[in-house]
Amino acid sequence: MQMRLQETPVLSVQHLTVRYGEGCPHCLAGGKLEKNRCPKCGTVYAANDISLDVYPGEVLGIVGESGSGKSTLMQSLYFDLEPTAGQAFLQNFHEGKKSIWEASAAEKRHIKNTLMGMVYQNPIRGLRMDYSAAGNIAEKIIAAGSRNAGQMTERAKELLSAVEILTSRMSEAPRNFSGGMQQRVQISKALANNPSLLLLDEVTTGLDLSVQARVLDLIRKIRARYGISILLVSHDLAVIRMLADRTVVMLDGRIIEKGLTDQILEDPQQAYTQQLVYSLL
């Protein structure tokens, strides 16, 4: 008698579609697109019927070129843009029974502040450059409802040490920091309220290699230490190889392939994935 692994995903995205344009009978009925664009009416499908699950403690990698829909997915999850269709369930939001895209404004703030953490490619989007590093973390803690200054300072110290920022620099503004340091402060801010899911959008893109290695190493440690689930978007297969347990490949707004990361890298099935893997340095 065979048993199956019983697990509830931390995040379950179902049939996410983000459409720019009204659509026409051709594309709305699922007719063929030219890349991600309808040849009849010009409507663009930035994300097209995307479904995926992230399980407790795992890193799910999402790889694809610019315009494949990776960031559209992330921005939809963090409410930076509004999906046209689809649902997303977080296990710790209404026990996974209500889609986060049907949440009220107050509920959305709660989700962003305490249930999920987001780290953007560009730290300007995630940090207040003129607050202090500790102030950035405090802001997040206050948003979650805490008012205890002493506790906040302690927490800021703990988080900044976890991302290897000297506490002697915690009252400095991130604008004085290097790119790699800014990224680490952004990660600590995202972790401020112990979210169960961390969204990482091209967090090492644009950093030089040694700094990149440090950030990747940090992400690995954070995962081990906090048991947090991570959705990791990158166009860089080397980053995915190092961190992701499973990987989803996107092209033209769709998921074209998914599998265990080593399987995607050693036995890619789709033409695009093969091209990507054969280009890996």
Binding site: L5, L216, R220, A224, G259, L260, Q263, E266, A271
Partner: protein, 230 residues
């Protein structure tokens, strides 16, 4: 019931840009009983590694089934299991050693071995002690333990790989030429370790280019070109 039953396994690769279909192993049928060690032999290119990679699910089988009798799930077809089930089995029951080493940047040799235990929930003091014991066993010089393995020689990497897998004492071991770049002294150590695991009732499918190494270790030899078990 056999711990592993491979039935009519075939693997083909389709390379899109060349529009070519490449055949690797064809119609493999193989049964491994619990506690048994099987060595696979055959010419290079015959698909020996392919069989191991299909069992480990690094490759997707084209046809056929690979039923593993799991402690957690009972009999489970590894070609059909979910990705999460495979990850669970890799963590808890099935170990794979290849000649190649992938490590995280800025992870020392000792941390690499410890991580195998930490991800099973072993506490860090015990993980450290067992990792050290394993590194010592495979004679990886102690002054290398705190270094990043990027600079290691082929033999050092292989020993690190072996330590990383063996520290968990996996129930089913898949070994892809684990002695390829080792000196004779280390080979003997690897063989001794495998004999110990055999005595503990573990099972193994391995590829060894060295027939002498298999002598006394493997209960049966599977010749892939003939598709027979001897």
């Amino acid at each position: 019931m056999a711990i592993l039953s491979i039935e009519h396994l075939s693997k083909e690769f389709y390379i899109h840009n060349a529009q070519k279909r490449i055949r690797s192993c064809q119609d493999i049928t193989l049964r491994l009983q619990e506690g048994e060690f099987i060595g696979i032999v055959g010419l290079s290119g015959a698909g020996k590694s392919t069989i191991l990679k299909c069992i480990h699910r690094t490759y997707l089988a084209t046809t056929g089934s690979i039923v593993y009798d799991s402690l957690a799930f009972g009999p489970i077809d590894l070609t059909q299991a979910t990705e999460r089930e495979i990850l669970y089995l890799r963590r808890n029951e099935i170990g794979y050693v290849s000649q190649f080493l992938h490590v995280m940047p800025r992870t020392t040799a000792k941390e690499h071995v410890m991580n195998a235990l930490l991800e099973l929930g072993t506490d860090s003091a015990e993980a450290e002690a067992r990792a050290e014991e394993m590194l010592r066993y495979f004679r990886l010089p102690e002054n290398l333990w705190s270094l990043y393995p990027n600079t290691f020689s082929g033999g050092e990497r292989l020993r690190l790989n072996l330590a990383h897998t063996m520290v968990k004492q996996p129930r089913l071991m898949l070994l892809d030429e684990p002695t390829a770049s080792l000196d004779n002294k280390t080979k003997v150590l690897v063989k001794d370790m495998l004999m110990q695991l055999k005595e503990k009732g573990k099972s193994m499918v391995g590829i060894f280019h060295d027939l002498e190494f298999m002598d006394g270790l493997c209960d049966k030899v599977f010749n892939i070109s003939e598709g027979t078990l001897q």
